[in-house]
């Protein structure tokens, strides 16, 4: 396998506060990586730096063989790097259908070539995606009619609509019921079977263990463990970080 994502010596500060301290991370093509860590450990900052929402001060991010440094977020999305937001950020004045239309218009169609699709195909594709997350019945509703949980599903569907090579799912399962967690797990694994690499940031350990083929742990802006999930959760340093002294 080849590395699709290569994070090297990545550092980010906010004023005097070091949010990320020379992070090294490699994700193989087709892998499912779990990323865990206590609140405030820098997981979301790392996602933001990888996706271009924030610009890192030191180090570099390479994706599919190209350096991403200095590229804006939309250019990274077009190269095949999609993310969901931890706090859902839907387009409030657009129907669910049109929420998904945006990434299709601006990534799939903007990449051009044979995959560019016309209006009818877009509508069909949006319906399929909404069906995958169980929201097809609300296709013409506005996001404000959704529950928090449905918004997370919409968030995930919108990231999937960009047809990414790598999908970063930032806490999409928080607050979901047991069955719903199972649904999302199945969905992520299905996506992965289709060839999409998945990074999952999650607190629900059951989901993390079920999805992840490899697990990385961030604590206070540093990566303290990285390896097979079973080994990582027994790592004394990880246990200490989670349970305290």
């Amino acid at each position: 396998m080849t590395a699709i994502l290569h994070v090297e010596g990545l550092g980010k500060r906010f004023g005097g506060f070091v949010a990320l301290d020379s992070i090294e991370l490699e994700v193989q093509d087709g892998e499912r990586l779990g990323l865990i860590g206590p609140n405030g450990s820098g997981k979301s900052t790392l996602v933001n730096c990888i996706c271009g929402t924030l610009q890192n001060e030191t180090g570099s991010v390479r994706f599919a063989g190209q350096a991403l440094d200095g590229l804006s977020a939309h250019e990274r999305t077009r190269r095949g790097l999609a993310r969901s937001f931890q706090l859902p950020r839907p387009f409030g004045s657009l129907s669910l259908m049109d929420n998904l239309r945006i990434p299709i218009l601006y990534t799939v169609n903007a990449r051009g070539g044979a995959r560019a699709i016309g209006n009818e195909a877009i509508v069909a594709r949006c319906r399929d995606l909404l069906g995958e997350v169980g929201l097809v019945a609300k296709a013409d509703r506005l996001p404000r009619d959704l529950t928090q949980i449905e918004m997370r599903k919409l968030e995930l569907a919108r990231a999937m609509a960009a047809e990414p090579k790598l999908l970063i799912a930032d806490e999409v399962m928080a607050g979901l019921s047991h069955n719903e967690v199972d649904e999302i797990i199945a969905l992520l694994i299905r996506l992965n079977d289709q060839g999409v690499t998945v990074i999952m940031i999650e607190h629900i350990m059951r989901a993390v263990m079920e999805v992840s083929q490899r697990l990385a742990v961030l604590v206070a802006g540093r990566k303290i463990a990285d390896g097979a999930p079973k080994d990582v959760v027994r790592d004394p340093e990880v246990v200490k970080a989670y349970l305290g002294e």
């Binding site: 939309h74 077009r78 945006i102 601006y106 960009a162």
Partner: protein, 311 residues
């Protein structure tokens, strides 16, 4: 092309309006109608950036006056130039200023852009006031030809026709944007810029397109002004009334579609004209300000929004 029937309808409507004007043959009617149509153009232009993209441009007067003063310059240099060409030049100049202002400030939060446009109005006025070639603070006189070219009759009829044509172009553009990928991109920016970026929308590029188009159309709306007023000085060319009207009309009419600015311009423009004739011109601008404040507080979706909700 999907938009062609709509454009034909617009042209037909414009033709009917113009034919009615010719039939009434009253020059006051033309002068009054010119103002209303000018405000439809200004309001729609403002709405392309403000309504669709969510960025507030307070510098309407700057763009409007750039159009007007580029006509003054052209009038002094090449007086024989046909008016539509002057309109085009004024639009290009104003569009470029929009592009420049946007390029410098649109990377930041939206309020900084709004503040910069407020200051832009002051600085453009300063430049014009200090520019003797266009009359400086004293103002400039423009001779209005007695007879309209091509169509005959009074020149104001020709001015009205040009503004009507411009109105057709601006409305067709606005509606085309609404139904295109560009329009979806604008809406995504207005709703959540970070999410738009994450969905692949090149937000800075789209904002610059909106600013340039919007500024350019405002310049075009201002370009025939010197011929309309025949005497243009900085105080009247930069009157805050233009800015208040251009902002109030889409807000009152409704900002989510091209219909809103028309509704706003016809109602508010008509009301103003009525008040100007019956009471005084100071009171009529006050009414617009009050209506603006009342609507943003009580009816944020505008008149069009009120009707949509009842549906």
């Amino acid at each position: 092309m999907r938009g062609v029937p709509f454009i034909l309808c617009l042209i037909a409507a414009a033709a009917v309006i113009f034919a009615c004007g010719r039939w009434i043959d009253n020059s006051y009617a033309f002068f009054a109608a010119y103002v209303v149509v000018q405000y439809i153009v200004l309001g729609t232009a403002w709405n392309i950036l403000g309504g669709y993209t969510g960025y507030v441009n307070f510098g309407v007067t700057a763009f409007f006056a750039i159009g007007a003063y580029s006509t003054v310059v052209l009038y002094k240099l090449v007086p024989a130039l046909p008016l539509p060409v002057m309109v085009l030049v004024g639009g290009v100049m104003a569009g470029l200023v929009g592009l420049g202002t946007g390029y410098l400030t649109l990377r930041l939060r939206g309020v900084f852009f709004s503040i910069a446009t407020l200051a832009l109005a002051v600085v453009v006025q300063t430049l014009i006031t200090n520019w003797d070639f266009v009359g400086g603070a004293r103002g400039a006189y423009v001779l209005r030809p007695r007879v309209a070219p091509l169509i005959g009759g009074e020149y104001v009829q020709y001015l009205f026709l040009v503004m009507l044509g411009l109105c057709v172009i601006v409305l067709a553009t606005a509606r085309a944007i609404e139904r295109s990928a560009l329009g979806y991109g604008f809406t995504a920016i207005r709703d959540d810029e970070a999410a738009a970026e994450a969905s692949g929308v090149p937000t800075l590029k789209l904002k610059l397109i909106a600013t340039t188009l919007s500024g350019g159309f405002m310049g075009m709306a201002g370009a025939p002004l010197p011929y309309y007023v025949t005497y243009l000085d900085p105080a009247s060319g930069f009157s805050l009334n233009y800015a208040v009207n251009a902002i109030a009309m889409p807000l009152i009419g409704g900002m989510n579609s091209w219909v809103g600015p028309i509704v706003g311009a016809v109602l508010v423009g008509g009301l103003q004209e009525y008040l100007r004739v019956t009471i005084s011109s100071a009171v009529n601008v006050l009414v617009v300000g009050v209506l603006l404040v009342v609507f943003v507080i009580a009816a944020p979706q505008g008149i069009v929004g009120l009707f949509q909700r009842k549906k």
